[in-house]
């Protein structure tokens, strides 16, 4: 019988307690972030219009990947680091300093002193943003910080095809390929000349022997 009345008492007091809390919550700030109106890109901008206590995006936010081709050395480390193979890089032997970007401005190579950089350039740098899982491993692996996460996260596109980010435009690719073929031709010419020379020398030697 005691338990019976205890049940009734507990039922009322605990419900009373709970109701006081849910009522109190009505008078405390709301945590909802009204996203498109409130700029959430950093702690300072979110504070402008938002009264709650959530933070804005941090500086190291891992959003959509971006590549700075001027820094890229086409070393393919990021491609190897990516666990799901969403990065595809093709490269060819090319003199990077002579290339120009899509808009015509020359691609500045800040690492001209490094011979290795001169010799290779990307002709294809595709990141499949639909596949990417934003783990940040490519960013950490990149020796020149060319690939990095931006704080962009809106990626609604009409088709999956559009989600494949192509960082090397066809123009650049064409130029690079052209340049590469030039280099190749030069190299071939050089090689041919060298071979001819060698042959000549050989012939000379032969002649001398004879």
């Amino acid at each position: 019988m005691g338990a019976y009345f205890q049940n009734i008492k507990d039922g009322f007091t605990t419900a009373f307690e709970g109701m006081s809390i849910s009522f109190a919550t009505m008078f405390v700030r709301k945590e909802t972030v009204q996203y498109p109106e409130v700029d959430i890109s950093s702690n300072a901008t979110i504070a402008e219009k938002y009264k709650g206590s959530l933070m804005g995006m941090p500086e190291n936010y891992r959003g959509i990947l971006d590549v700075d081709l001027s820094l890229c050395t086409a070393c393919q480390i990021c491609q190897k680091a990516c666990p799901i193979d969403c990065i595809v890089i093709d490269n060819i032997k090319c003199d990077k300093t002579k290339l120009s970007d899509g808009d015509g401005s020359p691609v500045l190579n800040r690492f001209t002193q490094k011979e290795a950089l001169k010799t290779r350039t990307v002709t294809r740098f595709d990141i499949n943003a639909a596949k990417c899982m934003y783990c940040g491993l490519c960013e950490k692996a990149c020796p020149t910080s060319a690939i990095r996460h931006t704080n962009q996260f809106e990626m609604n596109r009409e088709s999956q095809e559009e989600l494949i980010l192509r960082f090397v435009s066809d123009d650049v690719k064409a130029t690079a390929e052209k340049r590469a073929s030039e280099i190749e031709a030069e190299a071939a010419a050089k090689k041919a000349a060298k071979a001819k020379k060698a042959q000549e020398e050989k012939a000379k030697e032969k002649g001398a022997e004879e």
């Binding site: 019976y4 049940n7 009734i8 419900a15 009373f16 307690e17 709970g18 109701m19 006081s20 809390i21 849910s22 009522f23 109190a24 919550t25 009505m26 008078f27 405390v28 700030r29 709301k30 945590e31 909802t32 009204q34 206590s53 959530l54 933070m55």
Partner: protein
Amino acid sequence: MDATLISIGLDPLTAKITSMVIISVIVLLAFVTIGGILTLVERRISGFMQSRLGPNRVGPQGALQWVADGVKLILKEDLIPEGADRKLFRIAPYFCLVGIFGTMVVFPWGKGVIVADLNVGLFYFISITALVVFGVLMAGWSSNNKWSLLGGMRAAAQIVSYEIPVGMSLLVPILISGTLSMGGIMASQGWLPWEWMVFKSPFAVLSFIIFFIGSLAEANRTPFDLPEAESELVSGYCTEYSGFRYAVFFLSEWANLFVLGGLTTSVFLGGGNLPGALEGFTILSVLVYLAKVAVVIFVVIWLRWTLPRFRIDQLMSLSWKYLLPGAFIAFLGQAAYMLLTQHTPIVQSIIAVLMFLVFVFVLIRFGLKVRVSINEQRIPVNSPASNVS
């Protein structure tokens, strides 16, 4: 209205029927509006209780959200599941609707504002809502879905067993006022809080609590929302419904909330009574009444967003082991109380005032608790002061 219609050349019978139809349509539209607005109110309040904003995009502060929802539901495809009993499936939502709208006949909007002050008004009120359980059972069975069936059965068991304590607890106000008509019960109370039915005697308080809990269960509100417990039965009896029929179910559910508030207000909370000096201002009376209804509705919504749900056996034991004996005690106690104090009205008034003071004391205790909770939630997190390393 009849006279106007007759004057434009209709014969009396047609005129009468036309006016009936017109009034029905008006009441229906009014109820649709009330039900719609209540869905919005509920969502906003629940948002506030959960540190959210709730729907606030359609119209100023989301005021037109319910219209948007309604339009969306009406435009949706009306699916009838394979193997369903099509006739019963189609007709079921309207039972719920009729059950709730039927109460409009005796719904007292204020002092003297009542369509038909039936002599058995209160009784009619309880019995016409039995149509709801019929609709729910029908929906549950005809959907050809086992979850719906379980929901329908739960609803039937629940509503049938809670009708008893609710009916019993309403006997106390009937005993006090000596009438079954809604207008009569309202007239037997005064405008001052201690003249309300609920404070008239300790047993009236008990019966009020039992009535309130029981009618929550009859309206399928949390903590008694077992028929449509979303975490157990997916959506109970309306799992298979979509589009317009679903809207009808929900409309009747929220209209039921309003009816619950109205019944509680007019029977226990003094209805639309005004002080003697203001007697005759019907609009004011309606406003007072609606304000009280709003408070009751708020409490019901508040309970819903605070309490967890009962289990089916606990629900039954609450009804049969707690509420029903309580209702009997209230009824018998009230009879004894009336016998003892019938010649000393002054004692009755003193007890009423004392009980009101107890209520005020509880309110103050509650306010203090709320203040503590507010302060607890205001403890800063991510404050500018914490930016230093």
